[in-house]
Symmetry: D2
Subunit: 171 residues, 4 copies
């Protein structure tokens, strides 16, 4: 009997804003799809916008999606979340999304995404941002948040490059 | 294309102590096994004792197990956790274990388990305790924590009765 | 210049329900008053009921009161809180109320208070309950939550006995 | 009898790094001193570096200092904290430091400070950064984090300008 362990299930958390363009929605959906095809569990904040797009893409590839929700309501999850985790922690739920990740991916994004990138950096997580998606992901791609780490936030210009980076870290 | 949603994946969180007898370990393992066979995701605190037993049983039935960990270390999870969620929240992680649950099951248990039962009650979750397992589960089985809810903590004397109760709530 | 340090400011956290009788309100108010007269910072959940009573009593004695609030709204604090700490953590804010305490006092109380007593026990805090106030405080007074600690929850039948216990721990 | 309420006690939370130069330490100390002289409660992360400097300055002016600590240990607080609040929440304690603030001040800073600025922005808090202190405070001074707010992060080049801004918000 082969025993699966947590070492065999890798989690990729995707951060991004609620208010996004349809173009970003499509790219996030594609990204979720590709991540699920690689066998990763895809985690997100569980609500709309980027969170919904990435979960939709992952689910359509048969993937498992985890939504870390700010309220106590499972019903607040978008319809593509398979494992809804209501936390009641408000904005503090962002930290769990990051701390549970093996790799963090950022797409576009405002203040919420910025806090997640910063926390991911602080917790030592590999971070890759879609440099062509605007927002803080574009601003921080290829840079270092501070001098405590030698790495930079990896700059990926396409979804495929995001996948390559994630695979380089986890496979 | 049939779309799975969070409504189709139900989470049963199991609370119990770290320091348990081999008899309780065996019963918790059996419980995890039965829950997974029913198709539930089995969540626990991710560490040893009851947490390990229930995850071991669930995994051996091919189930998905989620471990809500108190530290930032995935490595602290027991080897039967498929989705390890390090939170860094210390004892506050207990609340997430409860808030993510569709039903909460308690086995034996000391102060930690007591806090989880109390919080589950406060959040309006159905709670069932294994009345024959000692600790706070035995003390509170069949009682009401306070007058805010009409229900009692359901008292189950066997693992099979726990499953019957969970199914009555979720199927 | 004498430098005050955190070793000189002691915090007593008071746990209790929102829905209480006027008799319990008066006793909680008296307790807050006595604690402040002894020089303790009085912390509570910041809302109504027991939380308001104890803060009201402490403030009338010129004390400092801290309210650990579940939402992000300072305005949700009762009018007797001098330092309002909105956390946005929902029920998880209970743990902070307990973890910041040098001594935890419980009055009456339902599920929320029970979770606080259990967590205080788990974190190794001295706990004293007003045995004559009903609820979980009455049920648990003089008992041990589990076998991990040698002490019991100290049973005090009057506010003065609560103060004696607190002083025995902190002075 | 005049009743003090939470509306009369204003909290200024100061964010900044642990590893700082002696020049930044001196400026943070001066800032804490000026804030306390204005009657504000000064909150910080409770540890060393900027956190210690600002608390030291505030305490020397007779102020009240609150330290929001990441662990459960009161002993981890620097010696200038009057109200030590151990949370056990790890990095999530940053959000409480921000959510309790009436105004957030940032000095220098790396990833941790960046996450605090971003969260303060997200929670709608007024933010002022010492533009001449380097790090993320310098980078973000005078800018907007995203388009959800009309204001910018106020850029102050001296401690006195920080005070002027805080007073403009709270007096």
């Amino acid at each position: 009997l082969k025993i699966l362990t947590q070492n065999e299930v890798k989690i990729v958390s995707v951060c991004g804003a609620r208010d996004i363009t349809s173009e970003i929605f499509e790219r996030a959906e594609k990204l979720g799809n590709l991540l699920a095809k690689e066998g990763y569990v895809v985690a997100c904040g569980g609500l709309s916008g980027t969170m919904e797009a990435v979960a939709k893409g992952a689910l359509s590839a048969g993937g498992t999606t985890v939504g870390i929700l700010p309220t106590y309501s499972k019903e607040s999850a978008n319809p593509y979340i398979t494992i809804a985790i209501p936390t009641g922690l408000g904005e503090s739920r962002n930290i769990i999304l990051v701390s549970m990740a093996d790799v963090v991916v950022s797409i576009s994004g405002g203040a919420g995404t910025l806090s997640e990138i910063a926390l991911a950096w602080k917790l030592g997580k590999p971070v890759v941002s879609l440099s062509t998606s605007g927002g803080w992901s574009a601003k921080l791609a290829g840079t270092r948040i501070d001098s405590t780490r030698a790495a930079t936030i990896y700059s990926a210009s396409t979804c495929e490059e995001v996948i390559d980076f994630v695979n380089s870290q986890l496979k």
